[in-house]
C-alpha cells in the first residue's frame, strides 16, 4: 500500500499562494526529495505533511488513513517522525536523555510521576546513538554539541519513535560537505533496512541527486516536474526555474568544497 499520499494540497497566506494543487505519493523504503528555489513552498508542503500547518484544501493520507487535520502528536502515534530546518532538540538535557524522552513518549509514559526519567530506556537510547556514531557523546549536554551533531541527535530522536515515514526538512543545512554525504548515506541505510519512507527537502543538489530516488520540483507553490534525478536534470522547465544558477543542476563531482 502507498505509505504517503498527498492529494491536491493548497495553502495561502493572505494573498500569497504558498502551495496549490500539490499531489504526490511515497512508497515504503523510498527516498523522495522536494526541491525548488527559495520561496517555492517546500517548507509549507512539508509542514502540512508534518501537521505544523493546516492546509486550506486537499488531503494527506498515511497508509490510507486521512491525517489532514490530525495534530502532530497524532501523526507521531501513526508513525510520522520528523526533523526541522533549524534543529530542534532539548538543549537542557543530555544527548541520551533527548532520545530517552522520545522513547518515553513513544511508550506513553510521559505522565509518569515516580521512577526517574534518566533510568528509563537508557540502553535502547544508547543503542540508537551507537548506530548514528554518537555513543561517545551520550552523556554530554546537548547544548554543548556542534550544530552538525545536534542534527544527528534530531535524527536519533526521530528514529526513536520507530517511524514509518520520516520527514527531513533540510537535513544537512549548516553541515560541512563531508558530513552531509555521511549523514545521508547513514539515513539511507537505516531507512532501507527498516523500510522507512523518507521525504526530504534540500538545497544541496549533490545531496539531492546523490540520494533521492525520485525528485519533485516546486515553483511558486506548484509542482512543475516529477521524476528520477536524471530526468529532472534534463527537464527544460526546471532548468529555467533555476536560471542564473545553472551549476546547481550539474552532475555531482564527488565531494565539492562546501
Amino acid at each position: 500500500m502507498t505509505l504517503l499520499s498527498v492529494q491536491k494540497l493548497a495553502k495561502s497566506f493572505g494573498g500569497v499562494t504558498a502551495a496549490r494543487d500539490v499531489s504526490f505519493s511515497l512508497e515504503r523504503g523510498e527516498m523522495l526529495a522536494i526541491i525548488g528555489p527559495n520561496g517555492a513552498g517546500k517548507s509549507t508542503v512539508f509542514n502540512m505533511v508534518g501537521g505544523q500547518l493546516r492546509p486550506d484544501q486537499g488531503s494527506v493520507l498515511l497508509n490510507g488513513e486521512n491525517i489532514t487535520t490530525a495534530a502532530p502528536q497524532k501523526r507521531f502515534r501513526l508513525g510520522v517522525g520528523r526533523t526541522f530546518q533549524v534543529a530542534q532538540s532539548f538543549l537542557s538535557m543530555s544527548v541520551a536523555e533527548n532520545v530517552q524522552m522520545a522513547l518515553v513518549s513513544c511508550n506513553r509514559e510521559s505522565a509518569a510521576l515516580w521512577t526517574p526519567a534518566r533510568h528509563r530506556y537508557r540502553d535502547e537510547a544508547c543503542a540508537l546513538l551507537e548506530q548514528l556514531g554518537m555513543a561517545s557523546v551520550a552523556d554530554q549536554p546537548c547544548s554543548a554539541l556542534a550544530y552538525g551533531d545536534v542534527k544527528r541527535v534530531e535524527l536519533a530522536i526521530a528514529l526513536a519513535g520507530q517511524p514509518k515515514l520520516l520527514l527531513m526538512d533540510e537535513p544537512t543545512a549548516g553541515m560541512a560537505a563531508r558530513e552531509r554525504t555521511e549523514l545521508m548515506d547513514l539515513t539511507a541505510q537505516i531507512a532501507d533496512k527498516k523500510g522507512i519512507g523518507i521525504l526530504f527537502t534540500e538545497h544541496d543538489m549533490d545531496v539531492v541527486f546523490g540520494h533521492a530516488e525520485r525528485v519533485i520540483v516546486l515553483l511558486r507553490g506548484r509542482i512543475i516536474a516529477t521524476g528520477s534525478p536524471e530526468e529532472i536534470r534534463q527537464n527544460e522547465e526546471v532548468r529555467r526555474a533555476y536560471l542564473g544558477d545553472e551549476h546547481a543542476l550539474e552532475r555531482p563531482k564527488g565531494v565539492s568544497p562546501a
Partner: protein, 615 residues
C-alpha cells in the same frame, strides 16, 4: 434609572477611559519597541500625580490662570519623561536581552524603590491638588450636574490618540517606532541608532504616564498605592488591546471605561472583577488581544533547570540539613521556631512556583492566588464548617488545586507575556473577591481565630508538623521533576515543535503541572494560615506573588534547591533589616535589581558555577 442617569454614567465611563488610555498608551508603546513590560509604568503615573499636585499650586500662586495650570501639568509630565530616560539609561538598557521574567522583576524592583522614595520626598500624607481654573463650575447635562473638568478629560484621550498617531505616521521617529514594533531584528540590521530610539521611546512612554497621573490631580488626591492600582488596569488595557497596539489600547480603554461605569450598577463592589473577567474572556478567544501579533518565543532552556551530574555528597547534605532541622527545637527558642516555620512554608510556596517557572518555563506572575486560596480555603472551612485542622488543610489544598485547574485551562493556551498577565489578572480577580465579599471572607479584616488542633499547637509541635508536611511535599515535587512528567515539561519548554513531533501533549502536561503547583502552593497557604492564626487579602496580593518570584531569583532559577535557599535568605534578611529601617522596600527593590544585573543565576547557581569553574 432614567435616561439622564445613563448618559451621565456613560460620560463618566468615557472620562475614565481617557485617563486610562493616556497612561496605557505609553505602556504599550514602550513594550512595542523594547519588548519590556514595564511594571514601573504605574510608578511613573504616581510620580506624575505627586509632582503635579505639589508643583501646580506653587505655580498658581505666582500667576493664577488656566494657562499656568495646564503648563504645570505639562511640566510635570516632562519631568516624569526625564525620569523615564534615567530609568532607561541606568537599568532597562542592560536587560533588553534578559529573559522576560528578569525584566518583569527588575521593573518591579523600580516599583519598590519608587514607593519608598515617594514617601521620602513627598511625605506620607495624601496630597490634594488644586482644581483647574476656569473649569470649577459644573455643567448641566439633561438636567444633571456634571463636572466640566471631566468633559476636558473626555476630550484629552482622543487628542492624545491624534497626536500619537501623528507622531507615529508623520515623523521619522514614529516610522522607527513602528518598524521596531513590527520587527526588532530588522531594525537592528538597518544601522539605526537603537540606543537613541529606545531612550526616546522611554521618554515618550514615561511622559504619557506622567501626563495620565498629572491629569488626575483635580479629581483624586495623589496617594501611595495609586501605582499598583493603575498598573493593573493599564496592563489589562494593553493586553486586551494587543501589546504594542495604540489603537487597540484606545478601543480596550473605551470598553473598560464603560464596563466600569455600568458594571458598578450590576456588581456595586466588584468592578475590578468585571474588568479582569473581560481580559480573561478576550484572551481566551484571541490569545494576542484585539490587534496584537503572536510573540516569537525562543527556547528558554537558559533560564530553567537542566540535567547535570549528581554529586555523591548530595544525599549526605540532605540528611545533614534534615537532621539539623529536626533537632532545631532542642536549641532554638520560640521566636526562632516561628521564623523557621515561616521559612519552611515559604520555601514550599517558592518551590511550587519553581515547578512552573524553572521546569515548565511557564512564568506565572500571580502565584499568590493559590497560596491565598489555600489559606482562605482552610480558614473558611474552619470558620463556616467547623472542620478541624486535619480536614481544613486538605480542604485548602483542594480549593487551590481547583482554582489552578480552572485558571490553568485558560493559561496554558497562552505564552510569554500574555501568560504572565493572565496569571496576574486571575490573582487580582481572586484578590478582589476576597476583598469585596465581606460577608463570607471578612473583607479587609480577613478571618481570625484560625488555630491548629490541640496536638499541633505551640511553637514546637507546629514547627515539627510544618517540617514534616513541607518536607514530604518538597520531596514529592522533586520526584516529579526527575520523573518523565518533569522531563516532558522541560522538553516542552526547550522546544515546543520538537515535543509535539514526539507526541507530547504540551498543553495537557502544562495544565497538570499548573494544577499540581497550585495545590502545593495551597498547602503552603493553609499551613501559613494556621501558623499566623488569621488570613487577610494581602496573602493574595501582587507583593506576595513577587515575594515568591524574589525567592526564586535569590536562590537561582536554574537550580532545584535555589528556591529553598532563597526563601530562607529573604526571610532572614527581612527579619534582620526591617526593624532597623523604614526603607525596607527601597532596599529590597535595589537588591532585586542588583541580582538581575549582577547575579542572574542566584546564590545556589552562582556557587555551582564557581565550583564548576574551579573543578
Amino acid at each position: 434609572m432614567d435616561l439622564s442617569f445613563l448618559a451621565i454614567q456613560a460620560l463618566n465611563g468615557l472620562s475614565s477611559a481617557s485617563s486610562l488610555f493616556i497612561t496605557a498608551c505609553g505602556l504599550t508603546l514602550v513594550f512595542g519597541v523594547t519588548r519590556i513590560v514595564n511594571f514601573a509604568h504605574g510608578s511613573l503615573y504616581m510620580i506624575g500625580a505627586y509632582t503635579a499636585a505639589t508643583l501646580v499650586p506653587r505655580l498658581l500662586e505666582l500667576q493664577f490662570g488656566p494657562l499656568t495650570f495646564w503648563a504645570g501639568i505639562l511640566l510635570s509630565a516632562l519631568i516624569v519623561g526625564l525620569i523615564g530616560v534615567l530609568i532607561e539609561v541606568l537599568l532597562l538598557r542592560r536587560i533588553y536581552g534578559a529573559p522576560e521574567l528578569f525584566q518583569l522583576l527588575a521593573t518591579f524592583g523600580i516599583v519598590l524603590v519608587v514607593q519608598d522614595l515617594t514617601i521620602l520626598i513627598f511625605g506620607p500624607e495624601d496630597i490634594l491638588g488644586p482644581r483647574a481654573p476656569g473649569l470649577r463650575a459644573p455643567v448641566e447635562i439633561l438636567g444633571r450636574r456634571f463636572p466640566s473638568y471631566e468633559l476636558v478629560l473626555i476630550a484629552a484621550g482622543p487628542v492624545v490618540l491624534g497626536l500619537v498617531w501623528f507622531l507615529l505616521r508623520k515623523t521619522r521617529f514614529g516610522v522607527l517606532v513602528r518598524a521596531a514594533t513590527q520587527d526588532r531584528e530588522m531594525i537592528a540590521a538597518l544601522g539605526i541608532n537603537q540606543a537613541l530610539l529606545f531612550t526616546g521611546t522611554l521618554f515618550l512612554g514615561a511622559f504619557l504616564a506622567g501626563l495620565g497621573g498629572a491629569l488626575q490631580i483635580p479629581r483624586v488626591s495623589a496617594h501611595a498605592g495609586m501605582d499598583l492600582s493603575i498598573i493593573a488596569e493599564a496592563f489589562v488595557v494593553t493586553v486586551v488591546g494587543g501589546m504594542g497596539s495604540v489603537p487597540g489600547a484606545f478601543l480596550a480603554a473605551l470598553i473598560i471605561g464603560q464596563l466600569q461605569a455600568f458594571g458598578i450598577l450590576i456588581f456595586p463592589k466588584s468592578t475590578l472583577v468585571v474588568v479582569f473577567l473581560l481580559m480573561a474572556v478576550v484572551l481566551a478567544i484571541r490569545p494576542n488581544g484585539f490587534f496584537g501579533r503572536p510573540e516569537v518565543i525562543g527556547g528558554t532552556h537558559a533560564v530553567g533547570i537542566a540535567s547535570r551530574k549528581r554529586s555523591v555528597l548530595t544525599p549526605f547534605l540532605w540528611v545533614a540539613v534534615m537532621g539539623a532541622l529536626i533537632s532545631l527545637p532542642l536549641i532554638g527558642d520560640a521566636y526562632v521556631l516561628k521564623v523557621t516555620t515561616e521559612i519552611l512554608i515559604f520555601a514550599l510556596f517558592a518551590f511550587s512556583l519553581q515547578l512552573l517557572i524553572g521546569v515548565s518555563g511557564v512564568v506565572s506572575f500571580g502565584h499568590a492566588a493559590f497560596f491565598g486560596l489555600g489559606a482562605y480555603g482552610a480558614a473558611l472551612s474552619l470558620k463556616w464548617f467547623a472542620l478541624p485542622m486535619e480536614a481544613a488543610l486538605p480542604a485548602g489544598l483542594l480549593l487551590a488545586a481547583l482554582g489552578a485547574l480552572i485558571i490553568g485551562a485558560f493559561v496554558v493556551r497562552l505564552s510569554g507575556i500574555y501568560l504572565a498577565m493572565m496569571t496576574l489578572a486571575a490573582a487580582q480577580i481572586i484578590y478582589a473577591v476576597a476583598f469585596q465579599w465581606v460577608e463570607v471572607t471578612g473583607g479587609d479584616n480577613g478571618i481570625v481565630g484560625v488555630w491548629p488542633s490541640a496536638w499541633a499547637s505551640g511553637p514546637v509541635f507546629y514547627y515539627l508538623f510544618t517540617l514534616a508536611v513541607t518536607s514530604i511535599a518538597v520531596f514529592l515535587i522533586m520526584r516529579i521533576i526527575d520523573a518523565p512528567f518533569g522531563y516532558a515539561l522541560r522538553a516542552a519548554r526547550d522546544s515546543e515543535p520538537r515535543s509535539e513531533a514526539i507526541g507530547l501533549g504540551v498543553r495537557r502536561h502544562r495544565w497538570i503541572a499548573f494544577t499540581i503547583s497550585g495545590a502545593a502552593a495551597g498547602l503552603a497557604g493553609g499551613l501559613y494560615a494556621f501558623s499566623r492564626g488569621s488570613v487577610d487579602p494581602t496573602l493574595l496580593g501582587i507583593p506576595t506573588s513577587v515575594d515568591a518570584l524574589t525567592m526564586l531569583l535569590i536562590g537561582g532559577i536554574q537550580t532545584i534547591t535555589g528556591p529553598l535557599v532563597g526563601a530562607g535568605v529573604l526571610h532572614v534578611l527581612r527579619d534582620l533589616i526591617m526593624p532597623l529601617t523604614s526603607l525596607w522596600r527601597l532596599l529590597l527593590g535595589l537588591s532585586i535589581i542588583a541580582i538581575v544585573l549582577i547575579f542572574p543565576r542566584g546564590i545556589v547557581g552562582s556557587i555551582r558555577a564557581w565550583r564548576e569553574d574551579a573543578a
